[in-house]
């Protein structure tokens, strides 16, 4: 049995007192969060609260400085791993703004990614035939146009196509921990439904999803186990899915006011 698998309910990701800055700007100011295998967590919050930073830091984007705290993933120090190692260990980031790779066909890109993952796990690279079959199956599952995979990655894609391409990649790579960074933004209602269905199909007792979103609407389709509110770089409220509806009705202001105090204490420390 591979050493890096964990049973349902076991801790997959433990974030402890995480402080992160970009340049002079402190963005995350003491985030604590535990995600267990089989859970879906939604991270909500107003613009600029640090939601996307959290997802990107977990994936290993190099633009940030970790000032303090630790992140344990499957019992190992995540922050010491290179981004590609994190990916091979099962962390997947669905990008908010997926970049274009001109001339690189999606299937070529995915084959390279699959090969890297399998080699890391000590498995053989997938045969072209096996890969084609799997890709076809996943393309049907996430309801994208078959022709899309022959096009260059994100080149000339619409916003919806880009997001669906992210979900297709997630379906192919079958991550243990999927970080969905505002995957719902910029989608019309049909695209949102398709993307959500894709996510729901990938949801399983063996993996976990961290869904970063500004809006509650995607949570109508993907019901989270937990909802956390991130404001000014800190989780100020955690509850069940009902919290999302409360936020929809009342906005974030009521949470902001109650959490201003500890900030002052912290800065004096």
């Amino acid at each position: 049995m591979p050493s890096n698998s964990a049973p349902s309910g076991a801790p997959l990701l433990e974030i402890r007192n995480l402080h992160v800055s970009a340049g002079d700007l402190e963005i995350l100011r003491g985030v604590n969060l535990t995600v267990n295998v089989g859970e879906v967590h939604a991270i909500m919050g107003p613009n600029g609260s640090g939601k996307s930073t959290l997802a990107n830091v977990l994936a290993g984007r190099p633009d940030y400085t970790i000032d303090q705290g630790e992140v344990v993933y499957l019992g190992r120090n995540l922050l010491e791993m290179e981004p590609e190692v994190r990916a091979r260990e099962g962390i997947f980031l669905a990008f908010q703004y997926p970049v274009e790779l001109p001339g690189v066909r999606i299937w070529q890109f995915l084959k390279a990614a699959m090969d890297a993952l399998r080699v890391h796990r000590g498995e053989e690279e997938m045969s072209a035939r096996e890969f084609d079959q799997l890709l076809k199956q996943k393309v049907e599952m996430v309801q994208i146009d078959q022709d899309l995979v022959r096009r260059a990655v994100n080149e000339g894609f619409s916003g919806g196509e880009k997001k669906r391409n992210e979900i297709l990649q997630m379906a192919m790579l079958e991550p243990k921990l999927a970080l969905l960074d505002e995957t719902d933004s910029g989608l019309d209602i049909d695209a949102l439904r398709i993307v959500s269905e894709g996510i729901n199909q990938l949801r399983s007792p063996d993996n976990a999803i961290l869904l970063v979103t500004h809006y509650q609407r995607i949570l109508d389709y993907v019901t989270p186990d937990f909802v956390h509110v991130l404001i000014d770089g800190r989780i100020v409220q955690s509850a069940g899915p009902e919290l999302a509806h409360q936020l929809e009705a009342q906005g974030y202001d009521w949470l902001k006011e109650t959490k201003d105090q500890p900030d002052l204490v912290d800065t004096g420390a």
Partner: protein, 497 residues
């Protein structure tokens, strides 16, 4: 190096010498090995006697020697003034410090058949991925293997002869097909064309000759593999391809050289002629030794390649992947003489470390309804400098000429350079000329995107560069495309990651 040859040139049999490996550089260039074999080497230096010696070595007819001497006398008038307009920088070349003829094997035992070829030479080609022995030959590819100044072997000649295709070393063609050689040699690149073409015309040694008769579609790819082995030697090959009416041929060339400390000069001339409805597809994988990381050694690749699309509806397509050489100076061009003729130029030029490349094409439209396409991709890494230089010229006679040009540059790192120098001269108002150009960098966001999918930085660069070159690789025969992609990867080692 232990050259024992005297500096006094003479037409008498030159002194035999053995090259050694002592002058080799320690590099990652995996084709950098050299052979320690007996070689028949002309003394260093260039004069009329050397020209006569080369001609005598090949047992050439008088007309060939006369042509060489004419070129040599013209070259003398140029007073060692190599063209200075290109964006390349190197110390002056001492043309008297070069061996102008070197042949593997002793002078008195030229191999007549493959069995007589030095096993070490055969092994060397095998190591380069070009097995020549009957059993192991590349399927579907006829190969002319050239080491230094001579052709070592040419495969599949008999099967080609059956359909009337002539594929042989040019030295053989001079003997066996003198009328064809006389008619076409210098007809596209005259001996006085430019400094290096003139030098080549005087001292050219071997190279390939191909003749595709009327209506014949050449049943296999023709390939020449050029290898420089001898230290301090120049390679001056000459290639001539003639495609008669309605014929088709796809020709490939590959080239490598040992990792010598001193620079080696390679000044080739390639001439192509296509008659009515004929098509020539010419692909190059240029992988001459590029020098080491500090810019020591490497091949100076000063090449003149030109095609004449002579007949109506004729088509010439140049595809080149240039990853090697310390300096590359070449402009595979097409003279679009025939009405409705088509000229294409697809190029990838990669420079790393201290490599310099000034390359592009000339499309000269003379016939009516002529079309040309230029797609040039430059990749610069390390401290490399890459220049695209191209001319699109539409003559008054070329009614309804069309050209499309696309030049893209990709930069890796912050110490390299990319330059684009397009020239457009239009003398007919019906011409349609399009020019597109772009410059981009491999962005951190692209790299992170790949890494986030488990792909290493090095592989990410490889994938992104392959994507950048996709349009060019599509033009190459399949095996060549795979090799080209691998070459780019190997050439960039150390520049990324």
């Amino acid at each position: 190096m232990t050259q024992t040859s005297s500096n006094k040139p003479s037409p008498t049999p030159p002194v035999l010498s053995r090259s050694t490996t002592s002058a080799e550089l320690d590099t990652d260039y995996k084709w950098g090995f050299s052979l320690d074999i007996e070689s028949d080497v002309a003394p260093k230096g260039l004069n009329e006697d050397i020209v006569r010696l080369i001609s005598a070595k090949k047992d050439e007819p008088e007309w060939m020697l006369e042509w060489r001497l004419k070129a040599f006398r013209h070259w003398l008038k140029l007073k060692q003034q190599a063209p200075g307009w290109a964006n390349i920088h190197y110390p002056p070349i001492d043309f008297q410090d070069i061996h102008y003829y070197a042949a593997p094997g002793a002078a008195d035992k030229r191999p007549k058949t493959l069995d007589e070829v030095d096993p070490e030479v055969l092994e060397a080609f095998e190591k380069l991925g070009i097995p020549l022995a009957e059993r192991e030959r590349l399927a579907g590819v006829a190969v002319d293997a050239v080491m230094d100044s001579v052709s070592v072997a040419t495969t599949y000649q008999e099967s080609l002869e059956k359909v009337g295709v002539i594929f042989c070393p040019i030295s053989e063609a001079i003997h066996n097909h003198p009328d064809l050689v006389k008619k076409y040699l210098g007809s596209v690149v005259p001996y006085a064309d430019n400094f290096y073409a003139t030098l080549n015309s005087a001292v050219f040694s071997d190279g390939s000759f191909a003749y595709i008769p009327k209506g014949v579609r050449c049943p296999m790819e023709l390939m020449t593999y050029f290898r420089i082995n001898q230290a301090d030697s120049g390679q001056f090959e000459r290639t001539l391809i003639i495609a008669e009416e309605g014929s088709y041929v796809s020709y490939l060339e590959g080239c490598t050289a040992p990792a010598r400390k001193t620079n080696q000069l390679h000044a080739a001339v390639v001439e192509l002629v296509a008659m009515d409805d004929a098509e020539i597809k010419y692909s190059t994988l240029q992988n001459w030794f590029p020098g080491d990381k500090d810019g020591n050694g490497g091949v100076y690749n000063f090449v003149t390649k030109r095609a004449k699309a002579k007949g109506r509806n004729s088509k010439i397509s140049w595809t080149q992947v240039e990853t090697g050489s310390a300096i590359t100076w070449k402009y595979p061009s097409v003279l679009l003489d025939g009405d409705n003729s088509v000229g294409e130029f697809y190029s990838v030029a990669l420079v790393n470390n201290h490599q310099q490349a000034d390359t592009g094409t000339k499309m000269i439209h003379r016939g009516k309804n002529t079309k040309s396409i230029i797609v040039a991709k430059g990749i610069s890494a390390g401290q490399g400098s890459s220049t695209y230089r191209g001319l699109v010229k539409v003559m008054p006679s070329a009614t309804n000429a069309k050209n499309f040009t696309q030049c893209d540059s990709l930069l890796i790192g912050d110490q390299c350079g990319a330059h684009t120098v397009p020239y457009i001269e239009v003398k007919n108002p019906t011409a349609q000329i399009e020019h597109e150009a772009s410059t981009s960098k491999v962005s951190d966001d692209q790299l992170f995107y790949c890494q986030q999918r488990g792909i290493s930085t090095e592989d990410a660069h490889h994938i992104i560069i392959n994507g950048f070159c996709r349009g060019i690789f599509q033009e190459l025969p399949f095996e060549f495309a795979m090799e080209a992609s691998q070459l780019l990867k190997v050439s960039l080692e150390g520049a990324v990651g």
